[in-house]
């Protein structure tokens, strides 16, 4: 297996995530924490996020679509989603949460709906990109991956 080629792909992929604004410095901070005791820490935390966030998105949609709308609950849910997204460095999702929050505060239903749709798309894209990234990393293996393991 051509590890150097794979490593190049990994580095290029990660760089594109940053350049296109999907991820921010927090993702690097998490990668810095990886060590022998938890070599797959970032993948595990991202998995936690991807497992937890769909529930939040569904609940957000319910808060918007029920009548009368529960803007207080909406704010609480978006706050939670924003927090988790921020903790893994998912900056596009974090920013969209801010937009959704603002629409909620204005009680702008149409704005909320638009923002939620955008959020769902961002979530799907992020999931696909990060899953590809971790799949590549797994091919290279923790010892061979100079990108995320500590020396």
């Amino acid at each position: 297996m051509d590890y150097s080629n794979l490593r190049r792909q990994i580095i290029f992929m990660k760089k594109s995530f940053f350049d296109q604004g999907y991820l921010d410095e927090q993702f690097n901070q998490l990668e810095e924490l990886q060590d022998e005791s938890s070599p797959n820490f970032v993948e595990e935390v991202v998995a936690l996020f991807l497992k937890d966030s769909p529930r939040l998105l569904i609940n957000i949609e319910q808060a918007i679509e029920k009548y009368p709308q529960d803007f207080y609950r909406l704010d609480s849910l978006v706050h939670q989603l924003k927090g988790s997204a921020s903790s893994i460095g998912a900056v596009r999702m974090k920013n969209e949460c801010s937009v959704l929050k603002a629409h909620g505060n204005d009680k702008n239903l149409e704005g909320c709906r638009r923002s939620l749709q955008k959020m769902k798309r961002e979530h799907a894209t992020l999931k696909q990109k990060l899953e590809s990234y971790f799949q590549l990393l797994r091919q290279v293996g923790p010892r061979n991956s100079a990108v995320n393991s500590r020396k």
Binding site: Q26, S37, F49, G83, S87
Partner: protein
Amino acid sequence: MAAAAPALSLAPMATTVTAAAAQKAASPKAAAGGDVRKVVPVMAAAADEVVVQELHVLAVDDSVVDRAVIAKILRSSKYRVTTVESATRALELLGLGLITNVNMIITDYWMPGMTGYELLKRVKESSELKEIPVVIMSSENVPNRINRCLEEGAEDFLLKPVRPSDVSRLCSRIR
């Protein structure tokens, strides 16, 4: 981040125990439900003697993602960490004596049910718990909020997302 011994700025309570006692201490207690995990890092100093670093942090956060991150940051700094998903749960477990020897509590500010601020107040009002330093984390930079927490006796206030460098800054303040 260099995995230096936490002795750089704080004084972890390092006690020398016999291997047998350390073995007993290292086995995790079963917790009464909730997301409670304990890790005791053990460093071998000699054949039949172990030095146990025991600075124990209780981390409270309703977000499963944030719990994982804060626990990892703390464990990388060689703290023993117990994570709990709510302030009420934290007080319950502390009251029942299921969480003991806590050297620091680090809690999210905004949580459903009891907030981190309320947890802070309860801790400072309790004769058993009031000496424990409490650190508040929040994703929002609200000066009034920060001041209120500090006035209520919070040790520090960290903005989320929390970074390893934030934690090393805390080290120097914790006895």
